[in-house]
Symmetry: C2
Subunit: 199 residues, 2 copies
């Protein structure tokens, strides 16, 4: 990657003559870049208006063949969140909101390829949800460590809705810590994956 270009991308604001669209892009890039895992939350609730904005962003995600083979449940009642946590060791703190993101098998054929692609769309919807949360001062993380069957029973999910990810979200109770990451040149290459540099 071009280090100089990356340094420019990392600077705070647009220079003179930059178009409005570019300025808007810079802010969105900043939100995407600074999102981080949040596992510990204040007890401030997530209100209806804020939740609706997250759900709207979520449903704008790409959907393969526009099948929208997905379903989402927003859980905020403290007693239900408490029970969910009992089946989800991946939820560490006590969040005011848990999104339950499901694949809807009733909207797929039996083709396992389609099933896999449907899961990818659910993941993209969850990322939209997390970005919309971070943009508004909330944080969370996708959790795959949970027991699907008890969760289905607890939430009255019909058999064709498979919970794929739980997403606890709330106001972070401490500053975001960026996750250490592999060097970009280890995971991104251009044009051809040279066999002399095993990934």
């Amino acid at each position: 990657m071009d280090r100089e270009a990356q340094a420019q991308v990392g600077t705070a604001g647009p220079g003179p003559g930059v178009r409005i669209a570019a300025a808007r892009g810079a802010e969105t890039l900043d939100v995407i870049r600074t999102r981080g895992v949040v596992r510990s939350y204040t007890d401030e609730p997530v209100g209806d208006e804020l939740l609706d904005s997250l759900l709207e962003a979520m449903l704008a995600a790409p959907s393969a063949s526009n099948k929208q083979a997905w379903a989402f449940l927003a859980v905020r009642a403290p007693e239900r969140v408490r029970r969910l946590r009992a089946f989800a060791p991946g939820i560490i703190g006590v969040p005011p909101l848990v999104l339950v993101a499901c694949v809807d098998h009733a909207r797929m054929t039996g083709d396992p390829h389609l099933r896999d692609v449907g899961s990818l769309c659910v993941a993209m919807a969850v990322e939209n949800f997390l970005l919309a949360a971070h943009a508004q001062g909330l944080g969370g993380c996708p959790v795959s460590s949970f027991l699907a069957e008890p969760v289905q029973l607890l939430l009255g999910l019909p058999g064709h809705l498979e919970p794929l990810l739980l997403v606890p979200v709330g106001r972070p109770d401490q500053p975001l810590q960026p996750s250490p990451r592999r060097a970009p040149q280890e995971v991104v290459r251009h044009e051809y994956w040279h066999p002399t540099h095993p990934g």
Copy 2:
């Protein structure tokens, strides 16, 4: 969902007294909401600086257990894009850039659950890539309709890198058309999935 709250979210700008953070959130929400599928592109190339900004956003995606079991190849050489298209009926127009998003099986154990979760992280990274593109006036879409083996051979991908999604991106050559979507109340519920409303 609360219709009134949603209408407020849909308005253009923050009212008086809204904090900076909220204003920033409104812009990011707008980028997320207005992203759409782009399948037809002008022949304007995607420059290094712009590509780097997309890649940086992409690598900021969540990663389960921070394994980063992913690898990405950015293809811009027109002849290589042309060959890629021959194996990818899902790529309709002629894009100036194709991202090849891969799962890295060398960074997973044999646990099939981890393999699936790794795919979800790649999907979230692709969504970041697409949002960063849309924020800067580009567009694209995730493509799963391609022949993985010829793509691996063409790009010199080692066996442990499985191409999961191809992502053509470029400057849209026509206005974005929003995809028709299922009614939100069909796919989102609160607290409990009532069995009297089959999803």
